[in-house]
Amino acid sequence: MEIAIPKTSAVMKALLKADYTTLWRNRRANIMVLIVPIIIVSTWKGFVNLAGGAFVLSNAITLGLVAIGLMGYTNSIARDRDKGVFQRLRVSPVPLWTIMVSRLLVQLTVIIILTLIVFISGYQFDHISISASGYFVTLLTSIIGGAVYLALGQVIVGRIQNPETVNSTARLIYFAFIMVGMFSQILLVTEPKLKWVADLVTWTPYGTVKDILAAGLEPSKWNNHTSEALLITLGYTVVFAVLGIKWFKWSNK
């Protein structure tokens, strides 16, 4: 007896529809993710003259990407795993990769929305305008940068099973990124003597993502350092993704 299995394209379409509906119904939580970057853009007016518009926008986007990867993605995966949503999907005739790809495509949409909102806020609050190529390259680098934090989020849900512990760990790491990343950047501008702190942070996931975003905003300033930052960003993504996928369990039981 021949049993028909559904087409992968139909499966993806159904999963995406469900995941986008979920995203829309959780829009209040997602707005919270977007608020921090908007606050940065609106309150860092002074830094625009001091360090340039790219400095402000790249920091705002980087923190937004950290929030998406560590808070949005990680918590939704941990919650659905705990509730058994993935187990129900896994007993259906769908390739396992479609379940995760659908989730990641939804996060990709949020990354693009975040980047566009930061562009608009930057223009509205600080009158920052960049070239068309700058907008385009920054969209690409946002996606690459977002991948690092989604992969880091995957590591967290891979290592930790309990959704509350996932949530608190993600918040802790998010806070660490804010402290280490954002304030080291401020120190770089305000306290030149502490430049070594900023130099150290340059090679962290925060620093490399911020650097490729800043260079993306001003493509003419893309240099060897930026290319190295891009390679290291991709390296972080691969390492985190491999570990996150290796450690990930579909069920808490």
Binding site: I3, G84, P93
Partner: protein, 259 residues
């Protein structure tokens, strides 16, 4: 072991380990078309692990599982398409409402669900007015009906039900039994796990008792009672002078409470 072509499920020498712990030991059984097969056992006996291996949720270390002619390791998607599964604790995306959940799973099983079909389905499970409700807002019985509707949405050859009546009131339980009977009447095979001996006697055509990961007895409920009714161990645990399936079950698996 019966390996006739009309077996909708064939499990042979199944072994499942969790680390060094062996949860399922050389389990073999079959289910024919139009048969309801019960898997009975105390807590931790290996029932859910056996079902999980059939469903593809865990990978067996050895042995084979064939569903509607498809090996679950060689053709997992075809095997899954031939199965309808109701897990012990099922949940759906909490943001989706009942009709969205039904539409999602219809699509995942390759079923075209028109609005007319959707409404007919909701009416059939007495949930016509709950289509806009979230799964978490439904009562236990309503959740069970949605879950069973999804399990059978693609008219599967084999239906696997893991403790389907757990936590249901008598009315909901009777209704579910009728639905399980209706699945059998369509010629489909059903495997259900249960702790209720009453349920096993009322619903199952054949049962296997599984304990410590092994199948220790397989027969029809009545034949199992007849075979063991004179055993001293069974008589010792029987109450009110009449041997029941539960007495046989207790005598075979012991009185110790399991985790």
């Amino acid at each position: 072991m019966d390996t006739q072509p009309n077996n909708i499920l064939q499990v042979d020498n199944l072994n499942v380990f969790y680390g060094s712990f062996q949860a399922v030991k050389d389990v073999s059984f079959y289910v024919k078309q139009g048969e309801i097969f019960g898997l009975l056992g105390p807590n931790g006996a290996g029932k859910t692990s056996t079902l999980s291996a059939i469903e593809g949720l865990i990978r067996q270390q050895s042995g084979s599982v064939t569903v509607a002619g498809y090996d679950t390791l060689k053709n997992p998607l075809h095997a899954k398409a031939a199965m309808g599964v109701q897990l012990q604790s099922t949940s759906f995306q909490p943001e989706l409402n009942v009709s969205e959940i039904l539409q999602l799973y219809a699509a995942l099983y390759g079923v075209t669900l028109t609005q007319e079909k959707l409404h007919a389905m909701l009416k059939e499970i007495n949930l016509a007015e709950a289509e806009g409700k979230k799964f978490g807002q439904l009562s236990g019985g309503q959740q069970q009906r949605v879950s069973l509707a999804i399990t059978t949405i693609h008219d599967p050859k084999l239906v696997l039900l893991d403790e389907p009546t757990s936590g249901l009131d008598p009315q909901s339980r009777r209704q579910l039994w009728s639905r399980i009977d209706a699945i059998r009447e369509k010629g489909h095979g059903v495997v259900l796990t249960t702790h209720s001996m009453e349920e096993a006697e009322a619903v199952c055509d054949r049962i296997s008792i599984i304990d410590h990961g092994r199948v220790i007895a397989t027969d029809t409920p009545q034949a199992m009672i007849d075979k063991h009714k004179d055993d001293p161990g069974v008589i010792a645990v029987s109450r009110r002078g009449k041997v029941t399936l539960e007495d046989v079950f207790i005598a075979l698996t012991g009185l110790d409470i399991r985790g």
